[in-house]
């Protein structure tokens, strides 16, 4: 399969993730959509790696995974903390800094 197909798939997945971030209001689902976008970029990195015949792309994808794991841990802890004080995981309810 030519790399163009993989890149198009990566584009589509990234866009779907972006739409999810825009339309969903449950913070956990928003987070899942961010993970989806990170995965889509990883697919692009791996494809580029194969295209150029270098492993650098795979190394970068590996680092993206590490950063994503750290981000998930901290992000979910923040969601838990907000849920504990406000009894809600909707991103609309955390509006203390509005206005």
């Amino acid at each position: 399969m030519s790399p163009a197909h993989y890149l198009v798939l990566s584009m589509i997945l990234f866009t779907i993730g972006g739409v999810g971030v825009l339309i969903r209001r449950n913070a956990i689902v928003v987070f899942m959509c961010i993970e989806l976008m990170l995965n889509a970029t990883n697919l692009a990195f791996v494809t580029f790696s194969r295209m150029h015949g270098e492993l650098d792309g795979q190394v970068i994808a590996f680092f993206v995974m590490v950063v994503a794991a750290a981000e998930v841990v901290v992000g979910l802890a923040i969601i838990m903390t907000i849920f504990r004080s406000r009894r809600s995981s909707s991103v609309d309810d955390a509006n203390l800094l509005k206005y």
Binding site: L13, L22, N39, S49, V66, V67, L76
Partner: protein, 263 residues
Amino acid sequence: MIFWVLAVVSVCAALGVIFTRKAVYSAMMLAVVMLSLAVLYAVQDAPFLAFVQVIVYTGAVLMLFLFVVMLVGVTSTDSLVETIRAQRFLAAVAAIGFVVLLAVGFGNAALPAVKGLRGANANGNVEGLAELIFSRYVFAFEVTSALLITAALGAMVLAHRERTTPKPTQKDLSKQRFLVGEHPTPLPGPGTYARHNAVDMPALLPDGTMSELSVNPIIARRGRLGPEFHADLHGDSGEEAAEKDLAAVKAVTDKAVTKETDQ
């Protein structure tokens, strides 16, 4: 072939992530996306990343998501009311605009011929990656360890809850129970019959009637309580079973008595 199947599966699952209302279903759909991406990595000569994807993403990150969904409440579904007017329409417009932007950039890009990873993977994929990580990217790798420690500490600090009120003692708890005044003592336990200690055997009140409070309310609502529903364990009717029990107990005690007299 494998690409087309997995592309369709992953796009459908990704749409499922953003369109199902329950967070648990979204997490399951995300697992499907991640597993199909893992296979796509494997197909593209990245076996190490494929395994890391399965172990770290599908194994660890998604389980973390499921744990948080469990803690925050599985039943919490999103309401479909838009709080920002035309939010979904604008999101669709933004998505289409973004896809057009990407497609234009992609169409103008000159993709070189595929070189393939046969040369780079000659000594094995893991060895090649290790060589790069510990030479050219060694600084980034070291910084990654700092990031992971910071993340772990951050999660600990965020998840930690300082106790602002003193822990209620047993005395406080009992006072609280009496203030509410509903049922200060513990509920009677089930299975206080001599013959059965099944959970659907209610305790007896002083007047001999069954106390429905002593069994699980779901079982109590079914209305099948009492020894007559356990008669089949030891005999046809309750009395017959009681007689048999009595005989068994007598036999055991007789045996013990004869043993004692023999000695």
